[in-house]
C-alpha cells in the first residue's frame, strides 16, 4: 500500500515539475494553477505514504537514508506550498519541486535500504530529522541563490522576458537566501550534536572521521562563515548567491558520504 502511495506521489511530483518548468517560460494562469494543484495533491499522497510507513512500525522510524530523503522531499514541498499560498511565490515551485522530485526518485534508485546507524539506538531519528530540516533550509537558500543569479543575469543583459517577469526582485531573493540559512543553520547544528551523541552511544566515539561526518562538519563550518561574512564584510547579493550554491554542493557530498558509509556499514 505504502509503495503505491509513493509511486503516485512520484508521478504527481513529476507532472508538477514539468508543469512548473513550462510555467517559467510561458504565461498561463491555468497551467500555474494546475502545477500548484499537482504539487498539493502529491503532497497529500506523500503525507499518507509517510504516515503509513510511520505507523506500520515494522521498521525504525527515519533510520534509513531512503526515508530521510523522502522526508526531506516532503518538507521541501511543504515549505513551497506554504510560500505559494501565503506569499504568492508560485515561481519557487519551478525550482523546489524538481529538487523534491529528484530526491524522491533517488530513494527508489538507491541500493536496498540500509540503516544509517545501528538500530539499537532508538533516538537516532531525532538526529536524522533535525539534519534534514537543516538541509531543507539550505536547499531553499540554494534555490534563492540560483534565482538570484538568473534574475541578475537577465537584468544585466537587459532581457525582459517571461522569466524576468516571474522571478522575484533581487533584494527579496537575497533576503530569502539569508533567512533560509539562518533557519537551516540551528537545525544542522542540533542535527550534528545529536548525531555525535548517537555515535557515542552506538559506536563508542563522538567522531569517527568517516566521510559523512567530515563533510557534515565542513558544511557546518562553511555556512557559519557565510553567515559571519554577510554581517562583517558584506558577503551578500551575488557573492552570497554563489556561496550558497557551493554550500549546497557540500550538503550533497555529505549525502554521498552517507551512502558510501551505509554501503560500507551494511557489509560489516
Amino acid at each position: 500500500m505504502t509503495v503505491v502511495f509513493f509511486q503516485v506521489t512520484l508521478g504527481l511530483y513529476f507532472l508538477g515539475t514539468v508543469a512548473f518548468l513550462i510555467c517559467l517560460v510561458r504565461r498561463s494562469e491555468a497551467l500555474s494553477k494546475i502545477a500548484l494543484g499537482l504539487a498539493g495533491l502529491g503532497f497529500l499522497t506523500h503525507t499518507v505514504a509517510l504516515a503509513l510507513q510511520l505507523w506500520s512500525g515494522d521498521e525504525l522510524k527515519w533510520v534509513t537514508f531512503q526515508k530521510a530523503l523522502s522526508f526531506f522531499s516532503w518538507s521541501l514541498v511543504l515549505v513551497f506550498l506554504g510560500a505559494a499560498i501565503r506569499q504568492h511565490l508560485q515561481v519557487l515551485g519551478s525550482f523546489i519541486l524538481p529538487l523534491a522530485f529528484l530526491s524522491l526518485v533517488s530513494t527508489a534508485i538507491l541500493p536496498a535500504e540500509a540503516p544509517v546507524l545501528h538500530p539499537m539506538f532508538q533516538g537516532v531519528w531525532v538526529h536524522v530529522t533535525l539534519s534534514m530540516l537543516g538541509t531543507v533550509g539550505f536547499a531553499v537558500a540554494f534555490v534563492a541563490g540560483l534565482m538570484y543569479l538568473m534574475q541578475e543575469r537577465l537584468l544585466k543583459s537587459k532581457q525582459f522576458n517571461v522569466l524576468s517577469f516571474k522571478l522575484p526582485p533581487l533584494d527579496f531573493l537575497d533576503r530569502l537566501n539569508q533567512q533560509s540559512i539562518l533557519l537551516g543553520f540551528p537545525f544542522l547544528t542540533l542535527g550534528i550534536l545529536t548525531g555525535a551523541i548517537s555515535a557515542q552511544i552506538t559506536l563508542g566515539a563522538y567522531l569517527s572521521w568517516n566521510p559523512e561526518q567530515i563533510w557534515a562538519l565542513i558544511t557546518w563550518g562553511f555556512y557559519l562563515i557565510v553567515l559571519m561574512g554577510r554581517v562583517t564584510v558584506g558577503w551578500r547579493a551575488k557573492k552570497a548567491a554563489y556561496l550558497t550554491i557551493v554550500g549546497f554542493a557540500g550538503v550533497l557530498l555529505t549525502f554521498l558520504g552517507v551512502i558510501l558509509k551505509s554501503s560500507g556499514a551494511s557489509v560489516s
Binding site: 537584468l155 544585466k156 537587459k158 522575484p168 526582485p169 564584510v233 558577503w235 551578500r236 551575488k238
Partner: protein, 468 residues
C-alpha cells in the same frame, strides 16, 4: 427605446475643441437635467475626460435622438457653432453604442491603451447621472456592465501591466532590483525633465529620501524643495553615492561624470548592496563600463526605451484579448435589451386578457345569482385556467423570440392578434404611438440666447488619461 451615443475624442477632435466642450463640475447637475428636457431623451449620461466628451442616452427614436444630443452639445457652449462641431462628432446607436462604451471603459479607445484612469472617470460620470436622476433602468444596466467589463479586461489581460513611458519604466526596473521602494534613497545628479519625472514616480512609490545635486546650488535647492529632498554640493556627490540605492543622472555634461571606479567604491561602502543607475543624459554621463561592476545595474535612455517598446508591443497583443472580452459582453447586454422590447407587449397582453376575463366573469356571475360561494370560486377558477393556458404559449414564444433577430415580427403579430394597440389607444395610455417631434436640421443647431453658457475653461478636476 434606443441607446445612442454622440461625442468626440482625441481621435476625431483637436484638444482646443475638446476643452471647449467640457462642462465644469459645478455645472454638471444643470447640464444633465437639461439633457433630459430635450424631446425623446429618456435617460442620459455625460462622460468627459481630457481626451473625450461623450453623451450616452436612451431615446425614443434614433434619428431625433442624435439631433437632440447634437443640439445639447452645441447649446452647452455658445461660442461654438454647429458647423465647428459637426465634422468632429461621431454617432453610434444600438449595438455599436454598447460596444463603444465597453471599449472606452476597457481603455481600448484611449490615447494610451491600457491607461488606468478611464475606469474611474466612467464611474464618476455614472455617479453623477445617478445623483441627478438621469440614469434609468437601461443606462444603469449598461454602465454597470461596462464597468465590470473594464475590470474584467484589467484582471484577465495584461493590458495595463507594464510601463509604457520611459520615466515609469525606471520605477518598474528599480522594483526588479529592490522590490518595495519604501525604504530607499534616490539621488538625482542634474535635474533634467525626465529625471524629475522619474523621481516623482519613485516618490509616489514610496521612496524615502531624495538627494539632489546640480552645478547650480540655487537650482538644486529649488528642485530639492519640490521633493522635500536634500541638496548636496556638486563637488561631493560621488562621496555620497553610497547612500543612494538609485542614481538618476541627467546633466548637460559632455563627459562621464560617474566612472566604474566611483560605482565600485560606492558598492564597497554599501557592503555589496546593489545600486541601480539610470542615465537619461545624452551624451551619456555614466561610463558604460559600470555595467561590468558587480551589483551595479546601469540603464541608459536606449535601454529604457527598448523596455518601453517591448511593453507597448505586449499591450497591443493583449488588446486583442481585451476586444474579445468586450465583444462577448456586448452580446449579453444586447440579449437583455432585446428581451426588454417584449416587456411592454407582455404586460399589455396580460392586462388585456385579465380585462376580458373579468368582464365575462361579471356578466356570467350576474346571471348565475343562485351560486354558492364555492361554486363561484370554481367558475372563477375555470375562467382563469382557460385564459392562462391560452396565453401561456404566446408569452413563452414572445420571451424567447424577443432575444432573436426576428423578435419584432412576433411582437407585432402578438399586438395584432390580441388587438393590443387598439385597446391601449382606447384608454389613451399608449406611449408608443406618440411620435417624437422632429427637428429641422438648421433650426435645431442654433442655440437660443436664453440657454446657459458653459465656461470654456477646462475643468481642472478632469485628469489626463494618464500615460502610465
Amino acid at each position: 427605446m434606443h441607446i445612442i451615443t454622440v461625442g468626440l475624442s482625441h481621435k476625431t477632435a483637436p484638444v482646443e475643441l475638446r476643452e471647449l466642450l467640457v462642462v465644469p463640475d459645478s455645472r454638471m447637475g444643470e447640464a444633465l437635467s437639461r439633457l433630459r428636457t430635450y424631446p425623446g431623451v429618456k435617460e442620459g449620461m455625460l462622460l468627459q475626460t481630457c481626451n473625450r466628451v461623450e453623451v450616452y442616452a436612451v431615446v425614443d427614436q434614433v434619428e431625433s435622438g442624435f439631433s437632440a444630443i447634437q443640439e445639447f452639445l452645441v447649446d452647452s457652449h455658445l461660442s461654438l457653432s454647429a458647423e465647428q462641431l459637426l465634422p468632429h462628432l461621431y454617432w453610434h446607436s444600438g449595438e455599436r453604442t454598447i460596444s463603444h462604451l465597453f471599449r472606452v471603459t476597457a481603455s481600448l479607445d484611449s490615447m494610451v491603451v491600457g491607461e488606468p484612469q478611464i475606469l474611474g472617470q466612467v464611474k464618476e460620470a455614472f455617479r453623477l447621472a445617478l445623483t441627478h436622476n438621469t440614469s434609468g433602468i437601461i443606462l444603469n444596466k449598461l454602465v454597470k456592465k461596462a464597468i465590470s467589463v473594464g475590470k474584467r479586461v484589467r484582471t484577465e489581460t495584461r493590458i495595463a501591466e507594464n510601463a509604457v513611458s520611459v520615466s515609469y519604466a525606471a520605477v518598474e526596473l528599480a522594483k526588479k532590483v529592490f522590490g518595495y521602494l519604501s525604504a530607499r534613497t534616490v539621488m538625482l545628479v542634474g535635474a533634467g525633465e525626465m529625471a524629475k519625472l522619474a523621481a516623482q514616480h519613485l516618490v509616489n512609490h514610496g521612496v524615502r529620501q531624495v538627494l539632489l545635486t546640480t552645478r547650480d546650488p540655487g537650482r538644486a535647492r529649488t528642485v530639492a524643495n519640490r521633493f522635500q529632498g536634500l541638496p548636496i554640493p556638486f563637488e561631493e556627490f560621488r562621496g555620497d553615492m553610497a547612500k543612494a540605492d538609485i542614481v538618476i543622472c541627467s546633466t548637460g555634461a559632455s563627459h562621464y561624470l560617474i566612472t566604474a571606479e566611483d560605482v565600485q567604491r560606492a558598492i564597497r561602502e554599501r557592503k555589496n548592496r546593489p545600486i541601480f543607475l539610470i542615465d537619461v543624459s545624452v551624451p551619456r554621463n555614466i561610463d558604460p563600463a559600470v555595467r561590468d561592476v558587480d551589483n551595479a545595474f546601469l540603464f541608459d535612455i536606449d535601454d529604457l526605451e527598448m523596455h518601453v517598446e517591448q511593453n507597448r508591443e505586449e499591450r497591443r497583443a493583449e488588446s486583442v484579448k481585451a476586444e474579445a472580452i468586450a465583444n462577448e459582453e456586448v452580446d449579453v447586454i444586447q440579449k437583455w435589451l432585446q428581451s426588454l422590447v417584449a416587456t411592454p407587449t407582455i404586460v399589455a397582453l396580460r392586462k388585456r386578457v385579465e380585462e376580458i376575463k373579468q368582464a365575462e366573469l361579471e356578466k356570467a356571475l350576474n346571471r348565475l345569482c343562485t351560486l354558492s360561494d364555492q361554486d363561484r370560486e370554481t367558475v372563477e377558477g375555470l375562467a382563469s385556467g382557460i385564459v392562462n393556458k391560452l396565453i401561456h404559449g404566446s408569452l413563452v414564444a414572445l420571451k424567447s423570440a424577443a432575444q432573436s433577430s426576428n423578435g419584432s415580427i412576433y411582437i407585432d403579430a402578438a399586438r395584432r392578434f390580441y388587438d393590443l394597440d387598439m385597446s391601449e389607444n382606447a384608454q389613451g395610455g399608449d406611449s408608443r404611438s406618440s411620435t417624437p417631434p422632429r427637428f429641422s436640421d438648421q433650426a435645431k443647431l442654433n442655440p437660443s440666447p436664453d440657454q446657459v453658457e458653459v465656461s470654456p475653461s477646462v475643468n481642472p478636476k478632469i485628469s489626463h488619461e494618464s500615460k502610465k
